[in-house]
């Protein structure tokens, strides 16, 4: 408690407070702007933090990250275009609610859910951080492989299309994720000799193409006069029944999100997808999913906020970045001469506790920023689509280009956009493709590390207690449709 009070003393210094505000404000803005995710923004702003102290730098960069989690949902709900990758799932239900004229209620629930999840995660981070990180430390390649396999298995349940189509999409995504240099031998795979493909196919342009460009082109081809936007926002305050439907999904999303956020490679994207899958499985009426389910909206949004905070645990306590954004923050710390790891708490208590305390403050600022400003964001949908469509394309073009300052990424985005249209026409859901594309390199690495370490013994993936537990869960997920069929037949 003393440490936390000390952290608040640091975070409430005027300079730190200012950078916390700048961070969360920029984060919200970045989350709203399609194609400009937190990773790109933090990469862009990293040089500007060199003039700051390490505490201010990390407070601001962290604010951008968790602020983007709030803002990302706005465009997902209003224009069916995820502001950043972890908001992809929000499109599934949020946009459906918006089409029903309930965008206001959806935005309100997301803001409150995000606040609750964020606050919960910060409390857990400040109390149980070291304990949880020591638990994650016991994970080996076997556990990681099993966990990611579980993620992929669950993603098949995400798909609104048939499971066979989801398997096709997941396989295709997996194949795309393996383009580039082999992580062990360095051999080029599926690069066709192109230098630009050596580091792999960039994930962001593919996601922007599949979700953004394909949506815009499809809408233009259908000649929608008012575009994809809702006719009516509806009232902002959700109904009592909405709150009842949202409360447990928010709680489950917060818990699951924090746990996933702890895992290297997990992060907000996986948390949001898994949380959605979980809600779909536990729902009394799963047919609501895909048609504007409150539970399907509240849970992933809570999960991604919780995961964004949880992702700080491995970095602050072990020096391990759990995703690209955290890796950039780790780089910023190293530039400032601070080495994150177990000694950080003792050597730089102002940074460790200051950043944690700033998250409490930032989360509060975000709630204030997002709820009153919902009306400002809502104005976006009043812009005619013939104007907004080209603007979305322009943001995507700039977003894709700014990743590597390479026009080649724009071509990838357009190709993914055209592929996305074909997938839409034939009822293929692109979500499994995107998720498996992210998971593929990590899963392959864990698989091959495990095999090399165990000298080719496949049992290494099954016989450790945690891994075994995860495989039981995988078996349960795979068996559940068959068991469901058996039970239904027995009932009949």
């Amino acid at each position: 408690m003393e440490n936390l009070i000390f952290g608040f003393q640091v975070a409430l210094e005027l300079r730190n407070l200012l950078y916390c505000f700048i961070g969360v404000f920029l984060g919200t803005l970045v989350g709203i702007l399609p194609g400009l995710g937190p990773a790109a923004t933090i990469a862009i702003l990293l040089p500007t933090t060199f003039v700051l102290g390490p505490v201010q730098a990390i407070i601001m960069l962290a604010g951008i990250y968790y602020g983007a989690m709030y803002g990302g949902s706005t465009t997902s709900i209003l224009v069916n275009l995820p502001g950043e990758a972890s908001s992809v799932v929000t499109c599934f239900e949020g946009y459906q609610l918006a089409k029903k004229g309930r965008a206001g209620a959806a935005l309100f629930i997301v803001a409150i859910g995000s606040f609750i999840a964020g606050t919960f995660a910060i409390i857990v981070l400040s109390i149980l951080g070291p304990v949880l990180s020591s638990l994650v430390l016991t994970f080996g390649p076997g556990e990681y492989f099993a966990l990611m396999f579980l993620g992929l298995t669950l993603v098949l349940y995400l798909s609104t299309a048939s499971r066979a189509k989801a398997v096709v999409m997941a396989s295709l995504g997996f194949l795309l994720g393996m383009i580039g240099l082999d992580p062990v031998t360095g051999v080029q795979r599926f690069t066709f000799g192109k230098v630009t493909l050596l580091e792999g196919l960039a994930f962001v342009p593919v996601a922007m193409g599949l979700f953004g460009i394909s949506e815009v082109i499809a809408n233009a081809m259908e000649e929608k006069k008012s575009g994809v936007y809702v006719e009516r926002i509806g009232r902002l305050m959700p109904s009592r029944s909405d709150w009842v439907k949202a409360r447990w999904p928010i709680a489950r999303g917060s818990l699951l999100g924090f746990f996933i956020g702890l895992l290297p490679g997990g992060g907000a994207v996986v948390a949001s997808f898994l949380s959605y899958a979980l809600e779909k499985r536990v729902a009394r009426d799963p047919s609501e999913f895909g048609h504007g389910s409150i539970a399907g909206l509240a849970a992933p949004e809570s999960a991604n906020n919780s995961a964004a905070i949880g992702a700080f645990v491995p970095m602050l306590t072990m020096g391990i970045p759990s995703n690209a954004v955290i890796a950039l923050m780790l780089a910023a710390l190293l530039i400032h001469g601070v080495t994150p790891g177990p000694m950080l708490v003792d050597q730089h208590p102002d940074l460790f506790w200051g950043v944690i305390a700033s998250m409490y403050i930032g989360n509060g600022i975000l709630l204030i920023l997002n709820l009153p400003l919902i009306w400002v964001f809502v104005q976006v949908i009043r812009i005619p689509y013939r104007l907004l469509g080209p603007l979305i394309v322009l943001f995507c073009v700039v977003g894709a280009y700014s990743l590597n300052n390479n026009p080649y990424d724009i071509a990838i985005m357009v190709a993914a956009g055209l592929a996305g249209i074909v997938f839409r026409v034939y009822g293929f859901d692109p979500a499994p493709l995107v998720l498996s594309m992210v998971i593929a390199p990590m899963m392959e690495m864990a698989f091959r590390q495990g095999l090399i370490a165990s000298r080719g013994n496949l049992w290494t993936f099954f016989f450790r207690p945690t891994a075994a537990l995860i495989w039981v869960a995988i078996a349960a997920v795979i068996a559940s449709p068959f068991l469901h069929m058996v039970f239904q037949k027995r009932r009949q």
Partner: protein, 152 residues
Amino acid sequence: MESSPNKSLRRNWLAAALCLIGLLAAFESIWLLGVGGARNPGPGFMPLLTCVFLVCSSGCIFVGTRTNAFRWNSRSVIKGGGIAAAILGAGAGLEAVGFRVATFLLMCLLLRLFGFRNWFAILGLSFVIALGTDLLFSSVLGLILPRSPWGI
């Protein structure tokens, strides 16, 4: 719900294309990359496993129902192709003519394709958007965007 023979034929083409991608990738995995063994899996090991999934699933699908949301005609296909070509053109010319000029030209094309009819409005809006986004991305967000050789 189910569609005409033409649509079925197109679905079969899509499934066949996905199958072919899987087969080609499997070929590269086995003969060019090397699958390796269980003790030391090669670079083609995981891609091959993935290809097996891809080929099997796409081979047995032959895609169920086509969504009815899309009602296209040749005009809308030309429009969609035009938008894609405009983005590609802007991407290709971005570094040659600079961000402002490329954005201006891209917006002229897109606004026209998205339904603006008045050329004065198109030119005016494109000019404002090109300058406004340049200000936002370059000055406010600090992105390094390409400039044309003549300094615009």
